[in-house]
């Protein structure tokens, strides 16, 4: 039972990343496929289009504000698509559809869990992020606290998350591309790295956002077309589909209701919540809220994003559901033609097989190109978030005490992007054969237990002080890392010990409350002069958070 839960956890974790592919890869199932010409041609068209956009964006990227946040000139609707794009990864399409394909209704329960965080972000975070922040989430965390200490800590928190996540994305990208396009792993990683550098260095946030928007539209159109074509086989009737799915699925009618997830429902539910708070602590997601002109547009953008994500999730579940019949009955998708055996290309290829089943090689090529584009877009956003932590937080604010000139700051951010790109490519290649599942737990654990508590408390809780934030932040960081090290994916799989000490893959459920607790207790015990001043500054911050007066304005183009 435990094995099943951790298996589900693994799948669930990978959904939030493009790592879905790493599951089978880790166990050595991934094999280089024959060169997929359709996919390569379509990907080439996508790259040419996005390079044209980058060229256009480069002419508009002159100030730091343009570079970090597209000058705050993205509309709510565009930003909604970009946020949705960040969340609708290749893994969502591949992982969720595969989960529904194999587990039936349990896959759907998971999907709902991945969605509910978005309404919460709308209600509690979106507008405050926009009103208080300018370029990075450290702007908000250090608003009324010690600029140097908190900003340095927040910048390193961001960089840690960005680096871990970049490795995960790079390894996932290499494996996905090798599978879909038939390219060699190192070539795939270098292609992703180089394209990402071009987008970010020349086009900054403007190009990064547009790449994300285009990809989101392609993914929505591709997914919807796939689901519609699939449903046409069943006369667009879910009842007909259900009848046939029950006949085909090995669990029969059982898979139409809640199943083995019963084993540990609290774990599953709190894990999805932990994931959500991790997302609210991911620097590249938070950065999206600074690209719109004001709080009004920030609110609109989460509304659109939530709608797109919800719709896409339902589409993906439909695809997985239809695959039970269309793939499950067709021996050509199974290794050795053995129905119910191993799927060709590994367990996560359900959506890709469906593309072939309803639209032939051309549609498969299209969907593969979209999956590649997805990884590129996410990687570009990550690199940008990491670069801004270096140049805006560390260089301009901490080292230069806010007196850096824009030209130098831009230069530093571009150098930082190149360094991050190189690190990503090198680590991506080094980690090829490693099981990187633990990095996902680490990324979300650190984001949820280090970045998120400081961010939330700085916005909502007056008694917070610098000491409290630092103490809680370090406890969150250390506990998240130790729980991951003691969990099965590192303690047993990597270090080769007998049994894991920490039973879950995801540390946030435990490390996050611990971080909150320590932050709050230390803050309350802090009676220093500095603490009094920091609390006094909350009132003005509160007015700004509520009204947006004093918030960074959009630059004019």
């Amino acid at each position: 039972m435990k094995k099943f839960v951790s298996g589900l956890t693994g799948v669930a974790l990978s959904l939030a990343t493009t790592l879905a592919i790493a599951g089978p890869a880790a166990s050595g199932v991934v094999e280089k496929q024959p060169l997929n010409i359709h996919a390569i041609v379509m990907f080439f068209i996508f790259v040419l289009g996005t390079l044209a956009i980058t060229w256009w964006a480069a002419s508009k990227t002159q100030s730091t504000s343009d570079f970090y946040t597209a000058g705050g000139g993205i509309t709510g609707f565009q930003n909604g698509l970009a946020i949705a794009g960040d969340y609708m990864s290749a893994a969502t399409l591949l992982g969720l559809s595969s989960l529904v394909f194999s587990k039936g209704y349990d896959g759907f329960i998971y999907t709902v869990g991945f969605f509910v965080g978005w309404p919460i972000i709308t209600f509690l975070m979106a507008e405050r992020l926009r009103n208080l922040g300018r370029f990075t989430f450290a702007d908000i965390a250090s608003y009324r606290l010690d600029q140097t200490k908190i900003r340095t800590f927040a910048a390193f928190g961001s960089l840690t998350v960005v680096c871990f996540y970049l490795i995960v994305q790079m390894v996932g990208a290499g494996q996905l591309i090798q599978l879909l396009f038939g390219l060699d792993y190192p070539i795939a990683v270098v292609v992703v790295g180089v394209l990402m550098l071009v987008y970010v260095i020349f086009g900054g946030m403007i190009a990064t956002t547009w790449v994300q928007i285009i990809k989101a539209v392609l993914l929505l159109v591709g997914g919807t077309t796939l689901a519609a074509l699939a449903m046409s086989e069943f006369g667009f009737s879910y009842e007909t589909l259900a009848q046939q799915a029950v006949e085909t699925h090995k669990d029969g009618f059982k898979m139409m209701g809640p199943g083995p997830m019963l084993a540990d429902p609290i774990n599953a539910a709190s894990m999805s919540l932990g994931l959500v708070f991790g997302i609210a602590g991911l620097p590249h997601i938070m950065m999206r809220f600074f690209t719109v002109p004001n709080a009004k547009e920030a609110r609109k953008s989460v509304f659109y994003a939530t709608g797109f994500i919800g719709f896409f999730f339902l589409v993906v579940c439909t695809i997985g559901f239809a695959a039970i019949v269309m793939i499950g009955k067709d021996p050509q998708y199974f290794v050795g033609g053995e129905l119910g055996g191993k799927l060709i290309g590994g367990g996560n290829m359900v959506a890709m097989h469906m593309a072939k089943a309803v639209g032939g090689n051309l549609f498969l090529g299209f969907l593969s190109a979209v999956a590649f584009a997805t990884i590129l877009a996410v990687v570009a956003g990550l690199a940008l978030a990491g670069a801004s932590a270096v140049s805006h937080d560390l260089y301009a604010t901490v080292i230069k005490k806010g007196k850096a000139n824009e030209k130098d700051e831009l230069k530093v951010s571009r150098i930082a992007t190149i360094v991050l790109g190189l690190i990503a490519v090198v680590l991506g290649i080094l980690f090829e054969k490693m099981n990187v599942a633990f990095l996902v737990g680490l990324t979300f654990g650190v984001a949820a237990s280090t970045n998120f508590p400081i961010l939330l408390l700085s916005m909502y809780w007056k008694p917070l002080t610098t000491r409290g934030a630092l103490a809680g932040g370090f406890v969150g960081l250390i506990s998240a890392v130790s729980f991951v090290v003691l969990s099965k994916s590192v303690w047993v799989t990597v270090l080769g010990n007998e049994a894991e000490i920490f039973p879950y893959e995801h540390p946030a459920l435990f490390s996050m409350p611990l971080a909150f607790l320590v932050t709050m207790v230390v803050s309350l015990l802090d009676n220093s002069h500095q603490a009094t001043e920091e609390r006094a500054r909350f009132d003005d911050q509160f007015v700004r958070a509520q009204t947006g007066v004093g918030a960074a304005a959009a630059s004019n183009h």
């Binding site: 209704y105 759907f108 329960i109 999907t111 709902v112 869990g113 969605f115 509910v116 978005w118 309404p119 919460i120 709308t122 209600f123 509690l124 507008e127 879910y238 009842e239 259900a242 009848q243 799915a245 029950v246 009618f253 139409m256 209701g257 809640p258 997830m261 019963l262 429902p265 609290i266 599953a268 539910a269 009004k296 609110r299 609109k300 989460v302 509304f303 939530t306 709608g307 919800g310 999730f313 339902l314 009132d539 003005d540 007015v543 700004r544 509520q546 009204t547 947006g548 007066v549 004093g550």
Partner: protein
Amino acid sequence: MSKDLYQRMRDNPRFNELVTKRSRLAWGLAILTLVIYYTYMMLVAFNPKVLHATLSEGGMLTVGVPVGAFIIFITWAMTGYYVWRANTEFDSLNEEIVKEAKK
């Protein structure tokens, strides 16, 4: 932005009105979202039969399918309601407070 301006806004009783109204709505909806979701999860854990019942006699589609879709839809609709209230009512109240403070 001057401290005086923030002070004047804070002293405006309408600022309190804005804060109370917005907080009540935002926290109310956030809690409602969690209640809806965890009610569903409790059903999954402790009374899965409810979700496993078929929608029609002899059919195979179960109650759980529309229920799950409904949760996604209703919480999204709630964000729509919040954004609408915030972008109309709260923002105009907000504008008045800022205008009065800048006088």
